[in-house]
Amino acid sequence: MTTVQGTGTAALSVDGPILVAEHVTMRFGGLTAVDSVSFRVMPGEIVGLIGPNGAGKTTFFNCLTGLYLPTSGRVVFNGQVLPPKPRKVVQAGMARTFQNIRLFSNMTALENVMVGRYCRTSAGPFTSIIRGPKFRREERETRERAQQLLDFVGLGHTTDSLARNLPYGDQRRLEIARALATDPKLVLLDEPTAGMNPQETRQAEELIFKIRDQGLAVVVIEHDMRFIFNLCDRVLCLVQGKALIEGTPAEVQSDPRVIEAYIGTGPDDAAALESELEEGQPDA
C-alpha cells in the first residue's frame, strides 16, 4: 500500500490544510464526548479516525459538519471559519455519510443523489413554474450528474430502485454517492463498511481510493483495523474523547497505548483488534 500513499495526492492547487480543527470540545452535561481535539487534513489525503465505541468519533464528525455547535474550539475549512450550520458546511465543500444510514428511503436511488445536487443548483420557484430553457438544462444536468455518480460508486443499475429496497452494502454506497453529489472537497465517512461482507469491504476500499484520486480529501471512521491500515495516509486514535495518538498507520499500529485502549473497553474488542492487527501486518 505504500505505493498508493506516495502517488495519491492529486489536488495540488491548495497548499495549506483543507481542514483545521483547533481544540474542539463537546460536552453533554457532565460528559465530555470530545475533549480538546486538534486535527488537520491536507488536500488529497485519506485520514483514518479510530477509537473504541463511545470514544467520541461520531460526535467529532457532528462538530465538524455543524450538526453540533462545539462547546469550545473552532473549525476552519478551506481557510474560513465554518458557521455551525450543516447547510453552510455542505455549501463550503464538506459532505458526510452517517453511521446509521440516513437515506431518503422512499425516494429512488437517483432521486437521493439528485437531492445531493440541491446546494449546487439554483432553480427557484418562478423558474420551476415557468420552466424556461435554463430550468430544463439544469434539471437535465442534475439528472446526468446523479447518474454518473451512481455509476461511479457502482450502483448504475439501481437508478429507479427505492433506496429502502437496496441491500445494506448498496445503501452505504448510495450515501457516498449522495455526499459526492454536493461537489465536496472533503468527505467524512462514518463507518462506511459497517455491516459489509469482506468482498463489499474491498469494493468500498477501492471506492475510497477512487474518490481520493478525484482530488478529494477523505476522513473515515472505521473499526476494521485492516481496512484502516490499508487505506489511510494518517490515523488519529480517539479514546474517551481525547486524541491519544496521531501518526502513520504503522506508528499507530505499534503503539501499545492503542491496544491498551481497546483492551480497556472489553476483552472481545481487544481480541478482535489484536487479530486484526496481525492480519493487517503483511499488507502494511
Partner: protein, 572 residues
C-alpha cells in the same frame, strides 16, 4: 367481506364452480329483465319506476350492472378456452364486484322507495325480481374461483384507441357529474353514487382501471387537456339554471383552496390548522378594496391589482406566522396555526370601529360587494354561448376554473423540480436533508407563505362571488374540512384532493341528512379511512409507502412500476 371469504373456501369454489356460473348468469339475466317491469306503485319516489316495458334511468343502471355480470361470465368462458393471450382480463373478479355492487344498488333503491312512499308494500314485483336477481348473482359469483390476477395494465392499444379511451372516460365523468347534480332528491343521489361506486369497483377488479391509469400516464397532456375541456363544458349541461352552478362554484372554491393547502400539507409536510384564515384574509382585502358601499377605505384599484394585494397580504401573514415557528419542530406549527385561525376570526370581529379601527365592520362584515367586471365582461349578466344561456354563477365558475388550473399548475411544477425533491427529502429525514445541503427552513417557509398566497388569491374571487364577507365564514371548522378533503382524497396528489374536495363539499349540499350530521359523518369517515386506508382514496405512492413502512411487498411492486414508467405515480 372477511366472513364471506372465510365461508366460501377455495375447495367449495372448486366444487360448485359450474353451479355458481349458472346462478350468476340467471341473476344477471333477471337483472336485465327486471328494469322493464314496474318497481314502485307511485312515481313520487326516485324517478318514475311504475312503467311496464320502459326502464327509468335508475332502473337502466341496474340493467347495466346485469349486462356486466352476464357478459363478463360469458366472455370469461368463451375467451379462456383459447388461453393463449398474454393479456389477462379479470372477468370473474369484475363480475363479483358488479354483483356485489348490484346487490347494494338494488337494496338502496328498494329502501329508498320504501322510505319515501312509506313502507315495503309500495315495492312492486319488478323490484323484488331485481333483488332476487342481484342476490342470485351475488351468491353465484362468490362460488366461482377468482383466477389469476389481471394483467390488463401492461396492455397497449393503438394510440388513437387509447386517446379515445381517455375521451370516453372524461365524457362518462361529465355525464356522472351532471346526472348527480341534476337529481335533487337524496334517494336518487345516493343510489347513483352507489352505481358509480359499483362501476369503479368493476373497473378496478377487472384491471380496466389499471390500464386506464397506465394510458393516462402515457398521454398526460391529453388527459389534462380533456379534463379541463370536460370541466369547461359542465355549465353547458345545466341549461342556464343557476341552482347547480352555485354549488359547483362552491366546490371549485373549496377545491382550489384545498389544492393550495395540499402544497403545504401534502408536499412540504407541514400541518397547517389555520389555513382558512389566509382565504379569509384574501376575501377581506378584496371586500375592503371593492366598490361596495360598505367598503371602509377610499382606494379601489382594478381587480387584477386586488388579486395581487390579497395574495400578498395573505403571504405576509404567512411569513409572520411561519418565520418564528418553522424553525422549531412540527408540532409547534400545528398549535400556532390553530391559534392564528382563532386570532384572525376574533380580529376580524373586532375591527368594527368600536373595539378597534373601522376596517371589517365586525361581525356584520362587508356586504353588497359588486360583481366583477373583467375586460368589459360583466359577471352579473347572463351570457349566451352556442345558444346555451350561462348565468352569473357560470361566469364565476369559469374564472375559478382558471384559478384552480393555475394552482394545479403551480402544484405539479413545483413538485417536479428541485424544490419538490427538497420537500420530499425534508419529509423523509429533515436532519439528513439539512446535512445534504437542503435549505430546510427556507423551503418550509416558502411552502407556507406560498400556500397562503394562493389562498389569498382564491379568497379575493370568493369575496365577489359570495357578495358578502363575514368573519364567521372563516372558522376553524372550515380549516378542518379542508384538511379532511386532503386526507380523504390522498395527500400530495392532484386527482385525490380534487375528488376529496368534491365529495366533501357536494355531499352536504345534496344530502340534507349529511348536512345535519356532517361533523359526525365526516368524523366517522376519517376514522374509517385512518383504519383502512390512511393514504387516502387515490394515494400518492410515496405517501402510501410512508404509511406502510413495513410492507416490503408494496415497496417492491412500486419500485417495479417506477422502473417501468420512470416516475413516482401520483407525484406529478
Amino acid at each position: 367481506m372477511i366472513n364471506i371469504r372465510r365461508l366460501v373456501t377455495p375447495e367449495l369454489q372448486q366444487r360448485y364452480n359450474r353451479q355458481g356460473r349458472i346462478l350468476g348468469l340467471v341473476g344477471g339475466v333477471l337483472l336485465i329483465i327486471a328494469p322493464f317491469l314496474p318497481w314502485a306503485y307511485s312515481s313520487d319516489a326516485l324517478d318514475n319506476m311504475t312503467v311496464l316495458g320502459y326502464p327509468s334511468p335508475l332502473q337502466f343502471f341496474g340493467l347495466a350492472l346485469g349486462v356486466i355480470i352476464s357478459a363478463f361470465l360469458v366472455l370469461q368462458q368463451a375467451l379462456t378456452q383459447r388461453q393463449k393471450k398474454r393479456v389477462r382480463v379479470g372477468w370473474v373478479p369484475g363480475a363479483k364486484a358488479a354483483a356485489t355492487g348490484a346487490l347494494i344498488y338494488i337494496a338502496l333503491i328498494l329502501l329508498s322507495i320504501a322510505a319515501e312512499l312509506g313502507g315495503l308494500v309500495n315495492i312492486v314485483y319488478g323490484g323484488w325480481i331485481a333483488l332476487v336477481g342481484a342476490l342470485l348473482a351475488f351468491i353465484g359469483t362468490r362460488l366461482i374461483p377468482a383466477g389469476r390476477t389481471p394483467t390488463l395494465a401492461a396492455a397497449t392499444a393503438p394510440a388513437p384507441l387509447e386517446i379515445l379511451a381517455i375521451a370516453v372516460m372524461m365524457a362518462a365523468a361529465l355525464f356522472a357529474a351532471a346526472f348527480a347534480l341534476n337529481h335533487d332528491d337524496a334517494g336518487s343521489f345516493v343510489t347513483f353514487i352507489a352505481f358509480v361506486g359499483a362501476v369503479v369497483a368493476v373497473m378496478i377488479r377487472s384491471g380496466v382501471m389499471g390500464w386506464l391509469s397506465a394510458v393516462s400516464q402515457r398521454y398526460r397532456k391529453v388527459l389534462i387537456f380533456s379534463a379541463f375541456v370536460v370541466a369547461f363544458m359542465f355549465p353547458f349541461t345545466q341549461g342556464g339554471s343557476d341552482a347547480n352552478m352555485s354549488i359547483a362554484t362552491q366546490v371549485m372554491i373549496f377545491a382550489a383552496t384545498a389544492m393550495g393547502l395540499n402544497i403545504v400539507v401534502g408536499l412540504a409536510g407541514l400541518l397547517d390548522l389555520g389555513y382558512i384564515a389566509f382565504l379569509g384574509a384574501g376575501a377581506f382585502v378584496a371586500a375592503i378594496l371593492s366598490r361596495s358601499a360598505f367598503s371602509t377605505v377610499g382606494f379601489h384599484p382594478p381587480f387584477i391589482v386586488v388579486v395581487l394585494i390579497s395574495g400578498t397580504v395573505a403571504a405576509t401573514l404567512g411569513l409572520i406566522i411561519g418565520s418564528p415557528t418553522l424553525r422549531v419542530s412540527g408540532d409547534y406549527l400545528a398549535i400556532v396555526t390553530l391559534a392564528f385561525g382563532e386570532i384572525f376570526r376574533i380580529s376580524m370581529n373586532n375591527l368594527d370601529g368600536t373595539d378597534g379601527p373601522l376596517l371589517t365592520r365586525g361581525s356584520n362584515g362587508i356586504p353588497a360587494i359588486p360583481d366583477l367586471v373583467l375586460f368589459g365582461f360583466n359577471f352579473a349578466q347572463r351570457h349566451e354561448l352556442l345558444g346555451i344561456p350561462l348565468g352569473r354563477f357560470s361566469n364565476y365558475y369559469f374564472l375559478l376554473l382558471l384559478v384552480l388550473g393555475l394552482i394545479i399548475l403551480v402544484f405539479t411544477r413545483l413538485n417536479n423540480s428541485r424544490i419538490g425533491r427538497g420537500w420530499v427529502a425534508i419529509r423523509e429525514d429533515e436532519k439528513a436533508a439539512e446535512a445534504m445541503g437542503v435549505n430546510v427552513f427556507g423551503l418550509k417557509l416558502f411552502a407556507f407563505a406560498g400556500g397562503a398566497f394562493l389562498a389569498g388569491v382564491a379568497g379575493s374571487v370568493k369575496a365577489h362571488q359570495d357578495i358578502s364577507v363575514t368573519p364567521d365564514q372563516y372558522v376553524f371548522l372550515e380549516s378542518a374540512f379542508l384538511l379532511a378533503a386532503i386526507v380523504l382524497g390522498g395527500m400530495g396528489t392532484v386527482l385525490g384532493v380534487l375528488v376529496g374536495a368534491t365529495l366533501l363539499k357536494l355531499m352536504p349540499e345534496k344530502l340534507r341528512f349529511v348536512n345535519e350530521y356532517r361533523l359526525l359523518i365526516f368524523g366517522l369517515l376519517l376514522v374509517l379511512m385512518m383504519r383502512f386506508r390512511p393514504e387516502g382514496l387515490i394515494p400518492n405512492q410515496r405517501r402510501q409507502l410512508e404509511f406502510h413502512e413495513e410492507d416490503e411487498e408494496l415497496a417492491e411492486r412500486i419500485s417495479e412500476e417506477i422502473a417501468e414508467t420512470g416516475t413516482v405515480k401520483g407525484a406529478t
